[in-house]
Amino acid sequence: MKTLKRWCAVVLLLVSWGINAGAQQPPKQQKEFTPIDQLPPTESMPAAPLLVTAYAFVMIVLFVYVLSVARRLSTVQDELNRLDATIKQTGRP
């Protein structure tokens, strides 16, 4: 019974926190409402996430590709050096 009461309290807390968070949405929307002569700042709000995502995506993809090519090159180079050493040890082919 005590455990059940504890769980109910936790659930109630979570639900009330959720409602609170949800209730805070409308004031945020009101902040976005700006008069016409301030149009550029308003416009920058919804566009910024798209801009940041685009640039972040480009940087991350390029970085990952460069890293993968560099890793492939070092693997192949290591194998080449190993084979060179093996040939030198056992005499010229």
Partner: protein, 220 residues
């Protein structure tokens, strides 16, 4: 690696690191606003996508004509770069479109043609990876067909009304908007050349390793 590689790589890194500042200093475009700044990465990516397609196509033709594997290695490296820069173009474009056109994707001429060309490049890489031995010549044939297909793809999808900006936008850019664009184009072009050289180098070394294994096998 050739002597120019390291200085060029450092220069490229510096250009890319400084690019956000150059782009941030550019003025806003009057109609499109902040989101238009995606243009400075989207446009050079698209141009590198096209350049890589041409390099791959020409290298494939030379490989089919001469049988020299040097051209095959260039074609493979360029094929990977088509997929890379195509991916960048096809992701940054819709992100810009979401704000400007209200939707992520439209079936207009240039987007559809780019998507189809990108898929042909992906098919090229799939063939190279899973086709087994002897797939180099087959892939070169595919690249040749893909390259020859570009005007047909473009004309056929042009049936639908296009809402892409016309190509006259770039030459008529004022200096304040044009400078960041050409800065990014130079950065991307340098990156393209470096990546191509790096990737070709991987294939060259791999070819040497394969030859050495063959020599060792023959000896034993």
């Amino acid at each position: 690696m050739p002597r120019w590689f390291s200085p060029a790589a450092i220069a490229c890194g510096v250009l890319f690191a400084a690019s956000p500042f150059v782009i941030a200093n550019a003025p806003f475009e009057s109609d499109l606003g902040l989101v238009q700044k995606i243009f400075y990465y989207h446009m050079p990516s698209a141009w590198m996508f096209l350049i890589a397609s041409m390099v791959c196509g020409v290298a494939s033709v030379r490989f089919l004509a001469t049988g020299n594997y040097r051209h095959d290695r260039t074609a493979l490296a360029a094929g990977e770069l088509i997929v890379l820069f195509g991916l960048l173009t096809l992701v940054t474009g819709p992100l810009w479109a979401r704000r400007s056109w209200g939707t992520f994707w439209v079936w207009d001429a240039r987007t559809t043609a780019s998507l189809v060309s990108w898929m042909i490049a992906c098919a090229y890489l799939i063939l190279r990876r899973y086709g087994g031995p002897g797939s180099e010549k087959l892939a070169a044939g595919l690249a040749l067909f893909g390259m020859a297909n570009v005007p047909f793809i473009y004309i056929s999808v042009n049936y639908w009304r296009t809402i892409h900006p016309p190509t006259s936008v770039v030459p008529t850019l004022p200096f304040s908007l044009g400078f960041p664009l050409w800065y990014c184009v130079i950065a991307f072009l340098l990156l393209f050349v470096l990546l191509l050289k790096l990737r070709v180098r991987v294939e060259e070394q791999q070819a040497r390793v394969d030859a050495l294994y063959l020599a060792l096998d023959e000896r034993s």
